[in-house]
Amino acid sequence: MPSGWSLIRLGTVLVYLFMFAPVAVVILLAFNASQFGAFPMEGLSLRWFAALWENDAIVRAFETSLLLGLLTAVISTTLGVLASLAMVRYDFPGKNLIAAALIAPILVPEVVLAVALLLFLGAIGVPKSFPLLLAGHVIFTLPFVILVVQARLVGVKREYEEAAMSLGAGPVETFFQITLPLILPAVLAGALFAFTISFDDITGTLFWKPGGVETVPTQIFAMLRNSISPEINALGAVMIVITVAVPLLGAALARWLSARGRTG
C-alpha cells in the first residue's frame, strides 16, 4: 500500500518540521545583523554572541549552569551506579518498594515534585540554597542514570565478578577492575543524561533556586519578561549546540569504548 505509507511519511515530515522549524529560526536569527528579529535578514553577524560574552549576568548564569550540571552528573552517576548495583546484585527486604521509589521522580510531574521538595524543606526549616537546588536536580536525574546503568548491569554476567574474586580480587578491586569497565558505556550515558537534563531544566530550578542565582534557562526566562532581545537568540543557539553536542560526543565515546572492550 504505497499511498498509505507515503501519507504516513508526509505526516512524519510535517511533525518534525513543526518541531524543528522554530529551532532553526532561533539559530538563524542568532546570526542576524539587525536589532529586530524579522525576515528577510539584513546580514550576518556574530555581534549577539559577542554581546553575550560581555553580559555579566549571562556569563554568571552560564557558570552556574555548568557547575550545577557537572555536579549533578557526578553525584547522580555515583549514586545511580551504587543503587543499580544494589538492585541488580543483592537481595534485601523492601527491594521492590525502593526500586519503585527510585524511579518515581520520572513519573511524578515535575511541578509537583518541585513544590513537594520545597514545602518539605520549608517545613523542616531549611532555606533555599545552591546545595538544595543541586539536591533537587540529583533527585530527578537519578532515575535516568539508574535505568540506563541497571539495564547494562543485568547483561554483565555475575560469573565475571565471581571469577575475579576467585582469583583473589576483593569486592572493591573487582568493582574497579571488572564491573566498572564493563558497564562504563552505560555509566557515561547516564552521566550525560544527568548533565543535559540538569542543564536544560527550568521548572524545578525556578522553585528551588535561591534569590540572585540564575541558571541559563531561568536567565532566558527572566530576559524574556523584559524584552525580546536578539541576545536571547544567540543564547538559545549556544544552549542548543551544547545540549545536542554533549550527548552526541558521549554516544561516540561510548561506542568507541565498547568497541575497544570487544576487540581488546
Partner: protein
C-alpha cells in the same frame, strides 16, 4: 597430626537450604590431596550448589567446610586460594588473554619477571603460547576454555573447581579436552573437583566419583566400583543400562547369596565382603544386572553356563542395531530384560529363542 592432614577439602555435615527447599542434604565428604573427584548426577541434584559452597560463592546453611584442614566457612572467596573454571569460561572480555591469565598473580604480589614466566608457562601448558595478545572474543570455544583453565591454575590454587567446563563444547572437542584436562591435572598434581552430568566424562577422568541425586550423596567410590558395584537403584540406573529386578533372598553363604527373582527364577549373586546388611532368608531386595553382562547365545546348542552362573531361557522381542553392538529387548519368564552384546556381522534375529548367561559376580544386591 590428625587424619584430615592429607585431605585437601573436607565437608562435614554440610546442608544448603533455600527457604523451605533443601538443595543439599547433610553431606560429609573428604577429598584427598592431589586427587580428581567428580560430582556426578542429573540436573538439579545439587552439584553446582555443593561446588559453590566449597568455593565460597554460596553460603552454607549448616555444617562446615575445611580446605587443607582449615575451616573456611567465614573466609570470603578471594582469600580461599582456589581456581574456578566456569561453564561459560567467564574470561574478562575487556582484557587480553595475557591480562586474563596474569589477573590472579596481581593479587598475590608476584614480581613482574615471575609473572611473565608463570603466565608463559601456563599458556604453554594449555598449548596456546601465541594467544597472549588476543582478546577472548577472538578465540574459539575450546581455546577460551583452555585460557580459563590457564587463568585458574597459574595462581597454584589449593583446589581447582570446575563446573561442567566441557559442556559448552561440541562432542569431538569435548573428548579431546577431556584427555587434555586430565593430562594437565596429572602434570600439576592439583586437587580437582569436577562437576558433570555426563557419566562417560566422570568415568574417564575421575579418581573418585560422588554420585548425587536430589541433594543427597548416593555413592562415593572409584569409577569401577561405582560402575560395577552400584550401591543403590539410582546409581545402577543412572550409569549405563541396568536390569533392576525385584527379588527375595533364598540363602546366604559368605560372599554368595541365592535369590529368587519374581517371575524369573533363582539366580546366584555376589555379596561384597564389607556389605553390612544381614541379607537373611526372606529379605526383599533388588537385583541389578548390567545390560552388557547378560551374554546371549542361540538356545539350540548353548553350552552349559559353568560354575557360579545360571542360564535363563528367553526370546528376543526387539533388536536395536547399533553397529558394533546391538541392544536386545528380551522376554524371559514373565520379565523383560535388556542385553547389550557385541556382534559379529549379524545380530541375533527378532523372535529367536536364546539362552541368557547370568554370572553371579555380575548380580549386585541392592536395598529394596
Amino acid at each position: 597430626m590428625s587424619e584430615t592432614d592429607h585431605h585437601a577439602v573436607d565437608l562435614r555435615g554440610v546442608v544448603k537450604r533455600y527457604g523451605d527447599f533443601t538443595a543439599v542434604h547433610r553431606t560429609d565428604l573428604s577429598i584427598e590431596e592431589g586427587s580428581f573427584l567428580t560430582l556426578l548426577g542429573p540436573s538439579g541434584c545439587g552439584k553446582t550448589t555443593t561446588l559453590r559452597m566449597i568455593a565460597g560463592l554460596t553460603s552454607i546453611t549448616e555444617g562446615e567446610v575445611a580446605i587443607k584442614g582449615r575451616r573456611v566457612n567465614d573466609l570470603p572467596i578471594h582469600k580461599r586460594n582456589l581456581g574456578v573454571v566456569f561453564q561459560n569460561y567467564a574470561l574478562f572480555p575487556h582484557k587480553t588473554v595475557w591480562d586474563n591469565v596474569a589477573f590472579g598473580l596481581k593479587y598475590r604480589k608476584t614480581p613482574a619477571d615471575e609473572t611473565k614466566r608463570r603466565v608463559g608457562e601456563a599458556l604453554e601448558l594449555v598449548q596456546l603460547p601465541h594467544a597472549a595478545d588476543r582478546a577472548p572474543s577472538q578465540l574459539s570455544g575450546g581455546q577460551q576454555q583452555r585460557i580459563a583453565l590457564a587463568r585458574a591454575i597459574v595462581v597454584r590454587p589449593d583446589v581447582l573447581l570446575l563446573d561442567e567446563p566441557l559442556s559448552a563444547l561440541d562432542a569431538n572437542l569435548r573428548e579431546d579436552m577431556r584427555v587434555e584436562l586430565k593430562r594437565i591435572q596429572h602434570t600439576l598434581g592439583i586437587t580437582t573437583i569436577f562437576v558433570t552430568h555426563d557419566q562417560s566424562e566422570a568415568l574417564a577422568m575421575s579418581d573418585r566419583i560422588v554420585v548425587m541425586s536430589d541433594g543427597r550423596v548416593e555413592q562415593v567410590g572409584d569409577p569401577q566400583a561405582v560402575y560395577n558395584r552400584p550401591a543403590s537403584e539410582f546409581v545402577a540406573g543412572f550409569l549405563g543400562n541396568s536390569n533392576i529386578l525385584p527379588a527375595r533372598i533364598l540363602a546366604r553363604e559368605g560372599e554368595r547369596a541365592e535369590v529368587e527373582v519374581e517371575g524369573l527364577g533363582a539366580l546366584l549373586a555376589t555379596v561384597e565382603p564389607q556389605d553390612p546388611r544381614p541379607l537373611a532368608r526372606g529379605e526383599t531386595v533388588k537385583l541389578a544386572i548390567r545390560a552388557e553382562k547378560l551374554a546371549l547365545s542361540p538356545a539350540i546348542g548353548a553350552e552349559a553356563p559353568g560354575p557360579d552362573a545360571a542360564a535363563l531361557a528367553g526370546r528376543i522381542a526387539t533388536v536395536d542395531y547399533q553397529g558394533q553392538v546391538a541392544r536386545y529387548f528380551l522376554e524371559a519368564g514373565q520379565r523383560q530384560l535388556q542385553s547389550v552384546n557385541a556382534i559379529d556381522e549379524h545380530p541375533l534375529p527378532e523372535g529367536a529363542e536364546v539362552s541368557i548367561r547370568v554370572r553371579a559376580r555380575d548380580c549386585v544386591i541392592l536395598p529394596a
